[in-house]
Symmetry: C2
């Protein structure tokens, strides 16, 4: 004879579970609408507060979205990495990671991304990368903000060419956190024009390596560029964390 441990589960959690299950099983497709809160409260036989807490949780998980005044009710959203992005962002901020650790992670993952991109890229990917590089070239004249936006687009295009949404999300998040950490020190960076030119040259080389399907070269260039650009912000004693990733 064995007894099961009793789990006291909150009312709102059971509401979450049922709606969650309906979304995952496909009973509720993206774009469809949930009944209104007042309708849900009769279906689930709980109060509106309970329903609302459940909807808040689902909303925080990016499963639904509700707009005040919309008579059609809360909308079921398509699965997106937005929730992944959020929890990853929280984790990196809460863990008090050092800049060296963040860069180490970026070098490791970005290196692999370039390698994969060079091997797996299609003509569409190459076109996308060409376009991104072109808009970076234009951005040089339009100022650093515009240039930086195009730069991000280039990096994301590479991660996408690698064919892995997980890599895209992770790199995007970590890049954001790195920029947050050094943005106050970044602005004084001497000659922005020279900087932009340097990056432009580097990105051109990377793109050529990817076009040639030379994954190892693209990977090495990418890691080297990350190191060259950010190592100055890393305390010397921590640079040892990064160097093993250079000479591969």
């Amino acid at each position: 004879m064995k007894f099961e441990p009793v789990a006291t589960v909150r009312a709102y959690e059971r509401v979450v579970q049922q709606i969650e299950e309906a979304v995952f099983s496909g009973t509720l497709k993206p774009g469809e609408r949930l009944p209104s809160e007042r309708e849900l409260m009769t279906q689930f036989a709980v109060s509106r507060s309970t329903i609302r807490e459940a909807l808040r949780v689902l909303q925080a998980a990016d499963l639904i979205r509700s707009k005040p005044g919309d008579p059609r009710g809360p909308e079921v959203l398509a699965a997106s990495p937005a929730a992944l992005h959020k929890s990853m962002h929280r984790l990196t901020r809460a863990d008090h990671l050092s800049l060296a650790e963040l860069l180490q992670f970026r070098m490791a993952l970005d290196g692999s991304a370039h390698l994969l991109a060079a091997r797996l890229r299609t003509d569409e990917h190459l076109a996308e990368l060409d376009a991104a590089l072109a808009s970076m070239r234009e951005g040089t004249a339009l100022g650093y903000a515009e240039f930086s936006r195009a730069d991000v687009a280039f990096h994301e295009a590479i991660a996408r060419a690698a064919g892995n949404p997980l890599i895209v999300v992770c790199l995007k998040v970590v890049r954001g956190v790195v920029l947050e950490q050094i943005k106050d020190r970044l602005s004084h960076a001497g000659d922005q024009h020279a900087l932009m030119r340097t990056w432009l040259v580097h990105h051109g080389e990377v793109l050529q390596a990817i076009r040639d399907a030379d994954g190892e070269l693209a990977s090495r260039l990418a890691r080297r560029a990350l190191y060259d650009n950010y190592a100055e912000y890393v305390p010397e004693c921590e640079r040892a964390l990064l160097e093993p990733l250079l000479d591969v």
Copy 2:
């Protein structure tokens, strides 16, 4: 003259942001307690419903935990990858993340982890790895569950030796998600004893490479092992995603 777009932000969201910020900035440390809901509602000057919705969101993000009846108030939790695991799990269920992509990510990151571990490992790390390998050897007799636990410990020790908590967390989460996806197909896997022996030999080789500080060998062995063990569960058309990571 330029106007800013007005963002109508919900009251509960601002509560979330403030508490979140306090946790991230370290003002609120793990283990500490938040004021009670009734206290918070006077501090934020909003109603209890609003406070409760905010707390629900924070709870869903694994930042706090509240127990009914506890006079000390909601507890601030240590950063944990639980939320990350949850959202990744959701993405795989929604079919936005295939097994091939998960494995690709693991191969990329685990490869780098082994490389770093070989270069950066201290004697303590080696001792820890020796211990983990020993307990795997014992686990062989105790059945698959015990063996598997020791195996996980070995992998985590390597990620730790690489010196990057972000790598540790990401690999842990992805490993968990992968196991969830194939666990139903895993149990029929023929001769478990032979399987365990194979793994044991492989882990021994990896450990030796790390001891010899041969990062490239350790990395190659790790990626190869992942591929050999899991590729059978990946549809053939998707295996092309993994192969570029083998021959580096």
